[in-house]
Amino acid sequence: MRDLRNAPGRLRGGSRPPGTPGRVTGGRRVAALACVPLIALAAAGCGQNGDGGGDAEAVKYPTRTIQLMAPAAPGGGWDSTARALQKTLTDGKLVTESIEVTNVTGAGGTLGLSQLVTKNKGDAHHLMVTGLVMIGGVVTNKSPVNLGQTTPIATLTAEQEVIVVPANSKYQTLQELMADAKANPASINWGGGSAGGTDQILVGLLAKAAGADPKAMKYVAYSGGGESKAALLSGDLTAAVSGASEYADLVAGGQVRALAVSGATGIDVGAGKPAPTIKESGYDVELMNWRGLVAAPDISDGERAAIIEMIDKVHSSEQWKQTLATQKWDDFYRSGDEAKTFFEQESTRITQVLTEIGLAG
């Protein structure tokens, strides 16, 4: 038996004794305040190794509270990413100012996006967590603003997707499933998260790669992972698509079987051995549910460089590595121009597949 009080996934959040929630949260604020005397010192440090690009003036950043927006409700993936960033930055004293996380919920993150692009334009102290889902949201919600209008900072984390079938299903491999999906699309009930989300995007990409009509795939959307899980177990669904860790215990318990994962290398999703990737199964599809960070549009090059440098520091910190391990997030770090290119590529690819599924109309 494992001693849970020493579970591996723990975080050393400073030396606080367990106490009331108020005290602990307050402690975070105290940590931020404790940084204040260091402003001058750290700012000087910033100036010395500010940027290597040469074209941008070294700037002092941040000069006031950073507003970090999670464009979703508390408790979700974007929110936990934002709060993990906040914690790493303040605990590690990587910034001199405090950081506030704000949640702007709505419309697959596009509500937050439009706020960042219109209201916070040119303000470098407004950052926002983003991800693959937002690109889908921009397309399906016909959002007037898109991710390309923001200032890309970095991609941070990613999670693979998994395709599962019930244990008593006749499908043993992805090829068998896709063969039927191609021959008789109406016989396969796909299920997963919300319409136009990562799960449906994967089904569309997969259909395309298998030579089937993405539009003909019967995809039933469920809110949240739980509902599609229940639908798979009740026999409503033939196959379900979800984040890789979602089905781990059911796979390990033998109730469902993982056919493939969507990343570049196979990972263990509960069966005790790595599941094959979609590529290994013969379809040229790779899809990561990634999350990243963008800043408000129209900020100066110097500010952009300073933010990138700040996030670079987060990425190389010990605490961030521990957070990744705890949350089971894959490290998916690209910063600056690399991130910009990646955002653009994903945007093109996702828009195309959603159009083919018929969700962009």
Binding site: R10, A107, N141, A195, G226, D249
Partner: protein
């Protein structure tokens, strides 16, 4: 006996002083948060999630979460009873009779039956969770989309008693709720409905926003329009008549059966992967109304109408834990957040949880028992304090309600637009009160409507448009058969009378009563 051994081990863990402290903190915090309209246990736990990183103690964290949940549920019913301002859908049914009781000076009895009923239901349902988690979960996942549709339809038909005295006004309220439930992205196709081109309406109108608007804001506006005819203080309090826990002997006699019946309906509904806590509270309310000997008292503060829904509400939570712990399926917002918390501690709920992390599971279950007891111990004495709220001068009290209602919606959504939507619905609630439209059907429509539509369409997509699935599956067919029966029951006396060649007598069995 193995289960009891494990459970005892769980108690051994939980009864350490430090964990009792966590439980007490949780219950207290939950009660305070639950009092605020719009801020429920899910949001509180979500916000405390980052804190749990630093607590570094999974058992303590979950003990605290369980306490928060129970506390928040009880806090929500307190404001429903005292001020007619339920904060979430599960306490709307409580508000119907509870507020009427409070208006007649029986606030203490209403709060007491709610507290004791929650305790009884919580304890029994936790026992059910302890003993039958796995078989119940196995049954629960048998439910398919078609069954959920039939179940939602059955619930809708069963609770039409809430429609009230005037059929047309009740139905208009219901249609209004159905309409509010339609606003936003269609879940299946992602098409925007009634969003009028705005991004703000794409996610629909949250039931919490509707509830805060209709109740807290609508009620305040209504009170403002009738200032002249109201006494200074909200409610005079009936003098304490003795009896344990502010319940008279008669109150006890009238409460205990509704507690048990509420538990019986709450637990299985909670365990269904698309169940939740709100539907069983309405079902329990309707059922108590049917059974009541003195039907005229319903609508004027019948204690059964508080005892039943409160028990159902609390029992549903243990029910929700069944699919969460055994299959990793969260069935409510709170459960979804708790699942996230499990994952932070590297614990994956599912079939193997009981084998892999028995210490945690049994400590969690034991903490439910402890949480229930603590809740009772904290809240029975606190009733004395809570009813003091009614002594606050009316202008201060209602100004406070408006500030808290605004705060609740704003803090939960961080959006001025959502607050404005709540205000708009509040103005609507004012006019509904003024023209005597019942409020509860709106909530009902907004909860059940989307569920019915979604499951109906899902069924048809899954069956490739074949309508026969609704009759070929035994479970679905039985549920739909019950719908037909429920529809016919009110007419039975009439039909029977006609068959016998006599004119209908004035007795009905089911809905449309004299509320």
């Amino acid at each position: 006996m193995n289960i009891f051994g494990d459970l005892l081990g769980g108690f051994g863990t939980v009864l350490e002083p430090q964990y009792l402290l966590y439980a007490a903190i949780g219950v207290t915090l939950g009660t305070f948060v639950g009092v605020l309209p719009g801020i429920g246990p899910a949001l509180t736990i979500a916000l405390l999630l980052p804190v749990t990183f630093s607590l570094d103690d999974p058992i303590g964290t979950f003990i605290m979460f369980a306490g928060i949940y129970y506390g928040a549920m009880y806090g929500g019913s307190t404001t429903s009873i005292l001020l007619n301002t339920p904060g979430e859908s599960a306490s709307v049914a409580t508000a119907i009779e509870g507020y009427q009781m409070a208006r007649r000076g029986r606030a203490r009895a209403a709060l007491a039956t709610a507290a004791i009923g929650s305790f009884v239901a919580g304890t029994i349902s936790t026992l059910l969770l302890t003993l039958f988690a796995k078989p119940v979960a196995a049954l629960a996942v048998e439910f398919r989309a078609a069954d959920y549709f039939a179940l939602a339809l059955l619930a809708m038909v069963a609770v039409t008693a809430l429609v009230g005295r005037s059929l047309v006004r009740g139905l208009i309220s219901l249609v209004l709720g159905l309409f509010l439930g339609l606003v936003g992205l269609d879940e299946l196709t992602g098409q925007a409905r009634f969003s009028f081109g705005t991004l703000e309406l794409l996610d629909g109108i949250d039931v919490v926003v509707i509830i805060v608007g209709l109740f807290a804001i609508g009620e305040t506006l209504y009170v403002a329009s009738r200032l002249g005819q109201l006494p200074d203080r909200v409610t005079p309090l009936e003098p304490v008549k003795g009896g344990f826990g502010w319940l008279s002997r008669q109150d006890w006699a009238r409460s205990w059966r509704p507690w048990l019946r509420g538990t019986a309906v709450g637990f299985p509904f909670g365990a269904l992967p698309s169940g939740g806590a709100d539907i069983p509270t309405f079902l329990s309310y309707t059922y108590e109304r049917h059974r009541a000997k003195n039907k005229a008292e319903f609508g004027k503060g019948a204690i059964e109408g508080v005892a039943g829904p409160e028990a159902a509400n609390n029992a549903a939570f243990s029910g929700v834990l069944v699919p969460l712990l055994t299959l990793g399926i969260p069935t409510s917002a709170t459960a979804a957040v708790m699942l996230a918390a499990f994952q932070i501690f590297n614990v994956q709920p599912g079939p193997q949880l009981f084998d892999k992390s028995p210490e945690l599971v049994w400590a969690l279950i034991a903490s439910l028992y402890v949480g229930n007891v603590l809740l009772l111990l904290l809240n029975l004495p606190l009733i004395r304090l809570w009813v003091k709220v009614l002594q606050i001068p009316r202008p201060i009290l209602f100004a406070g309600i408006l500030v808290f209602a605004t705060l609740g919606v704003y803090a939960a959504t961080n959006s001025v637009i959502q607050v404005l939507i709540a205000y708009g619905i509040g103005v609507l609630g004012f006019f509904m009160r003024h023209f005597e439209f019942p409020i509860a059907p709106v909530i009902l429509g907004a909860i059940l409507g989307p569920m019915m539509e979604l499951q109906f369409r899902r069924t048809l997509v899954l069956s490739n448009g074949d309508l026969s699935v609704f009759v070929t599956r035994p479970l679905t067919a039985v549920l739909l058969g019950l719908v037909v029966v429920a529809l016919l029951v009110p007419f039975l006396p009439r039909i029977v009378a006609r068959l016998r060649g006599r004119p209908a007598t004035a007795q009905r069995l089911a809905f449309g009563e004299d509320d």
